[in-house]
Amino acid sequence: MLLLLSSLAASACAQSTTLLTVTPPARAALKRGETVTAKVGIKIAPGFHVNSNAPLDEYLIPLRLTWQAAPLELKDTVFPAPKMEKSDFSPKPIAVFDGSFEITSKFAVPASAPIGAGFVTGKLRYQGCNSTTCFPPKTIDVKFSYDLQ
């Protein structure tokens, strides 16, 4: 029930732009010394794509999720496998994301982390297009809220 409520609350905090909707990670209950997984949900508008974190063309702007992790410690951020898409402008396919997907970040909770409610903030930078048009790169803030017991 608590999980469901957290997930509903996260959905309520979703941010939307013309190109995508970002759902921040659900609020988490943490304990010192453990590792926690935070999932950022992304839904791309139909017909559009964003470049993957490794788009395979030096001029394309990759998808990035960076965290100001303190007092937690960022261990890792994992992107899903991209979709390979043929384009008219590059001899090689480009790696993109479309539809709905999640970016997963893992945080360690240090023994020194202060007890109580807290949050860390991330920045999601993306650049997206459809087959005929592209939107300029944009950065939006993502918040991961938690209660450290």
Partner: protein
Amino acid sequence: MRDGYTKYMLARSRALLLIPALVALVACVGTTKAVSPVKPESQRKKAPEFTLKDSNGQPVKLSDFKGKVVLLNFWATWCGPCKVEIPWFIDFETRLRDKGLVVLGVAMDDEGWDAVKPYITSKKVNYRVVMGDDLMANLYGGVESLPTTFVIDRDGRIARTHIGLVSKSEYENDLQQLLKQKSASAAPFELAGR
């Protein structure tokens, strides 16, 4: 009751009547998407004047090209569809420059010339490129997506705006129409404040 010859003649007439219809059908199917004309002169609005710098730091003003047809293309190195158009614009600049065309690229990369110079060098871009910014985008009605291209007539008026990738033939059609038109007056470009 009709005899055999009459039946043959009737069938032949019907077949002959079908020919024009078939020709029209084939013509429709065989033609690519109909190309729209540029705006009538009476509906064209003045293109806002601007001053931006090219890759050598030289100022470039729209009014420098008075009497020319200008293809003003907003683009960026990160924009895939823009890259499809660039070889077309190189071709236009080569073929149509002597007829009075100027192709002018407005690069919208946040990283500036560090990103744009290597790209235009590697792609052998033969037309002038200037560095754009938000002010320039706003001046042209808030360019929100790329590519966005304004086709400007010899009198500095916007004859056509293309948002997104269109076909090369569509540009070719615009340019050929405008290049045929003579400058109506020596009217100066509108001086829009920046």
